[in-house]
């Protein structure tokens, strides 16, 4: 699980172009949206595409993302339980 969390942090930084953020700065339970990393609605859509492309998880309802993308910890748990690749 810790490998998956590390992988997710690296993907989030790279795919969302978080130029001034390092992996070490993202704690497992940090909020990804709002006051945490400050991601926006386009970032949320980008994460939905990432779940599909990299882990074979299709979210039919974008509102599901609100809970799943709460933190790296929550994301990693969801991916571990639902991944198809």
């Amino acid at each position: 699980m810790s490998e998956l969390k590390q992988e997710l942090k690296e993907k989030i930084i790279e795919q969302l172009n978080l130029e001034d953020v390092s992996v070490e700065e993202i704690a497992d339970n940090d909020a990804l949206f709002g006051d945490g990393l400050g991601l926006d609605s386009i970032d949320a859509l980008e994460l939905i595409v990432m779940l599909d492309k990299d882990y074979g998880i299709k979210l039919s309802d974008p509102k599901e993302g609100r809970k799943i993308f709460e933190s790296v910890e929550v994301m990693a748990n969801y991916i571990a339980e639902n991944r198809t690749k």
Partner: protein, 204 residues
């Protein structure tokens, strides 16, 4: 009666250099635009993380405009500064990236972050958001820099009172080739706002 209008300040980004009023603010030997524009952004100490999410056209227009709008006197109200931009390649560079991501039905993963930049006027939105401009704006596509059109439109906005100042110019990006020239038109300054001066400054 038409107002006396002036080109208050102007900025260029071309040939690995960032200029303000003809003076080099930053230069860099990066071979690719991505490296150059990132270094130019950092040189200006502009704390705006969203810059890194922009496409290349928006980065080009945003940074040129930012340098120019930072000259805005603090006692003046920037809010009613209109924006009229133009270029040749529209958003073609980003359009191609998006097209690449959707051409294979077996590997169909269009990026929302790329798709949102598949219009040229998005760069105006980026400038407006950063500087909190609630003003009229337009983006035109021309084969070449069109001083006449920019002059007529800016004059009309200012003489009709629809804007207090107008940020005008050209921001063109395609396939790692780039050229930006923006200028601010308003009631103050030493350079008269006319077609000849706009053309002269563009060619500097």
């Amino acid at each position: 009666m038409n107002k006396e209008l002036y080109i208050e300040n102007f900025a260029h980004i071309r040939d690995n250099k960032l200029y303000l009023n003809g003076k080099v603010l930053f230069t860099d030997a990066s071979e690719e635009f991505s490296g150059f524009i990132k270094a130019a952004y950092k040189s200006q100490d502009t704390k705006y993380p969203k810059f890194f999410k922009m496409d290349n056209l928006s980065k080009l227009a945003f940074l040129t405009a930012d340098v120019l709008l930072n000259t805005f006197p603090s006692e003046e109200n920037i809010e009613n500064t209109a924006i009229i931009l133009s270029n040749r390649a529209s958003s073609l560079d980003t359009d191609r990236k998006h097209q690449q991501s959707i051409k294979d039905e077996e590997n169909y993963y269009p990026s929302p972050a790329v798709f949102v930049y598949t219009l040229p006027n998005i760069c105006i939105g980026e400038i407006s958001i950063k500087h909190k401009l609630y003003s009229e704006n337009s983006f035109f596509i021309f084969e070449h820099f069109n001083a006449v059109h920019l002059f007529n439109y800016a004059s009309s906005l200012l003489n009709s009172g629809k804007a207090d100042k107008v940020l005008c110019g050209w921001a063109d990006y395609d396939d790692d080739k780039y050229d930006a020239f923006l200028y601010l038109v308003g009631p103050n300054g030493n350079i008269k706002h006319n077609k000849e001066e706009i053309t002269r400054l563009y060619k500097l």
